[in-house]
């Protein structure tokens, strides 16, 4: 099952010019639990989904109260680069969203 299909909301945005953060909100506690136990939502899994080095993944955080996860990583290309294609970072959730939860 893809993360995209498990999440009610999955969104990305800059967190400062050089970091992108992906917020994932679940409606179903079972889906939250599935995501929390997945390899995809580990530093190694996130790095693989984006094809970046694991040490550029700054953190993966969970909030049980609102069934949410947050993934923050350094931008590999940001608004300071001449040819950045996503200045606001609003479409950078897509590689993670396509990832499969075990």
């Amino acid at each position: 099952m893809r993360l995209y299909d498990c999440a009610a909301i999955i969104r990305s945005k800059n967190a400062g010019p050089f970091t992108v953060t992906v917020d994932i909100f679940f409606d179903d506690p079972a889906m939250f639990a599935l995501a929390r136990g997945s390899r995809l939502l580990t530093a190694a899994g996130v790095a693989e989904a984006y094809g970046v080095a694991p040490d550029t993944v700054k953190g993966i955080y969970w909030d049980e109260r609102i069934l949410a996860a947050k993934v923050s990583l350094l931008r590999w290309s940001s608004s300071t680069d001449r040819f950045c294609a996503d200045l606001f970072g609003a479409h950078l959730h897509t590689p993670l969203a396509a990832g499969v939860l075990a």
Binding site: K13, N14, A15, G16, P17, F18, T19, T21, D23, F25, Y50, G51, D55, T56, K58, G59, Y61, D63, R65, I66, A68, K70, S72, L74, R75, W76, S77, S78, S79, T80, D81, R82, F83, C84, A85, D86, L87, F88, H91, T94, P95, A98
Partner: protein, 471 residues
């Protein structure tokens, strides 16, 4: 500071986004609950370095957006606090103040405004650096690296600081009708009046974090709507003035995630806001928020500086020919190769005065090399040849050369020998703009958070003499 005896009530919105059509009704609702200050942010780095570097102002008409809020604040005799100008340097602030002048004149308002500029002059920064200030990078592992140098300062086109609450507090203490700043920390605008009235920084900062994007923290979220909170010494209650939206625990906690790398820790000038033990409890009218902590830190302000990197010109082509779609990246690679190897451009490319990139929307225009799809899967695609050169003439010449190679360049099994693709725009080369980078993204330590950012109390609409002097 004094002990707070009464709650401090804030009406918050976003002033770079146009208000919803029904906003005056909701503003009236909020004032019915009571409002002590109206606050809205209108600066940010999310737009990238272009605006800061160029000095141009985003066409947001921020003065027009604040009109219904200023009208209500003046009618009730409460102050307003706005940051203006997106990039928020002097040129951007002045563009907004000129619009605010016109607004005041049209409405017949005569108001005193504490104007706080947050652009830093190069001599100020070079003097600080020469005196030994340690100005370290604010981002870890991306963005400008290394301590700020005098050379960095000299190379930048424009430098701003994200001012904290203190310069706004100093301006409010002068009894003005409103405070308008350049680039500022969003939550600092919200913290200023509560802190003046004795609300603890933890409560003020936590409230600021939830209110800074206006109605976006409500459900459904909409930055064109407003948001209201009542702060006391222990916490605050958030309400939605718009009855079609609600403040819910989920909407508020979700909002603490928004545009933040960490969900519960946030470094600010003079302190870190820690929400690890924050509590959110539904009330009859909204949500009560408590439990934030403020951990004192040495006082620093974030500096943002932009530096010119060149001029951009683009050329765009539509592709719908199946044989070409099947090999579209090979075709653009061939055109780029011809450009790179031509005697007219090879030297400029070798020494970095000319850079070329081709985006193919329909293939990898969004993700670039991270795109897993390697073939066009739809029936058409858009090719954008993107050229950044040291000056406009070189950028346009290289883009035109590239356009011609794409338009007439041969490719295997070509049947389209009269022209390869559809040109939607004439001129086929579109001059875009100067190009800038964020060359400075550093933390400047300050012993006095107010001194570099004094308020100039000014009456609006400003007189002819003021306008001529550009004050």
């Amino acid at each position: 500071m004094t002990e707070p005896h009464q709650p401090v009530r804030i009406l918050g919105f976003v002033n770079h986004i146009a208000p919803a059509a029904d906003i005056e009704t909701h503003i009236a609702t909020a004032f019915g609950w009571g409002v002590d200050v109206v606050v809205a942010q209108g600066t940010g780095s999310d737009w990238g370095p272009y605006w800061l570097g160029s000095g141009e102002q985003v066409a947001a008409n921020q003065a027009a957006n604040v009109r219904p809020y200023v009208k209500a604040a003046l009618a009730h005799g409460v102050p307003f606090v706005f940051s203006f100008g997106i990039a928020g340097a002097d040129a951007h602030l002045e563009a907004c103040l000129a619009q605010f002048d016109a607004l005041c004149a049209a409405e017949g308002w005569d108001v005193s405004i504490g104007v706080v500029r947050s652009e830093l002059a190069k001599p100020y920064l070079t003097a600080a650096l020469t005196a030994g200030a340690e100005v370290v990078p604010a981002s870890d592992g991306a963005g400008p690296a290394g301590r700020l140098s005098v050379a960095d300062v000299e190379a930048a086109d424009r430098i701003v600081a994200l001012i904290g609450p203190e310069p706004v507090m100093a301006a409010l203490e002068r009894g003005v009708d409103g405070v308008i700043t350049g680039r500022a920390l969003d939550i600092g605008l919200f913290m200023a009046l509560p802190m003046l009235r004795g609300i603890p920084p933890a409560v003020a900062a936590h409230a600021g974090k939830l209110l800074e994007c206006g109605g976006l923290a409500l459900s459904p979220g909409d930055s064109g709507q407003c948001i209201w909170a009542s702060l006391d010494a222990d916490g605050f209650e958030v309400r939605s003035p718009n009855p079609a939206a609600t403040a819910s625990v989920r909407s508020l906690v979700s909002h603490t995630f928004y545009e933040r790398a960490h969900p519960t820790l946030e470094e600010n000038p003079g302190g870190c806001l820690d929400l690890a033990d924050a509590r959110y409890e539904p009330t009859v009218t909204g949500v009560r928020c408590t439990g934030a902590r403020w951990i004192e830190r040495p006082y620093t302000v974030l500096l943002e500086g932009a530096k010119r990197e060149g001029f951009r010109a683009i050329s765009m082509l539509g592709v719908r020919e199946p044989a070409l779609l099947a090999q579209v990246r090979d075709w653009t690679d061939a055109a780029e190769k011809t450009l790179r190897e031509s005697v007219r451009f090879a030297g400029a490319i070798d020494d970095g005065r000319l850079r070329v990139s081709t985006r193919i929307f329909g293939l990898d225009g969004v993700l670039g090399p991270a795109e897993p799809e390697k073939m066009v899967t739809g029936h058409e695609a858009a090719v954008v040849l993107d050229v950044v050169a040291e000056d406009r003439a070189l950028a346009e010449e290289a883009a035109y050369f590239g356009f011609i190679r794409l338009f007439i360049g041969p490719y295997p099994q070509r049947k389209t020998t009269a022209g390869n693709a559809a040109a939607p725009f004439m001129p086929v080369v579109i001059p875009v703009s100067e190009v800038y980078s964020f060359s400075i993204y550093h933390l400047l330590p300050l012993t006095d958070p107010v001194a570099p950012f004094p308020a100039a109390v000014t009456r609006f609409p400003r007189g002819r003499d003021d306008r001529r002097e550009g004050v």
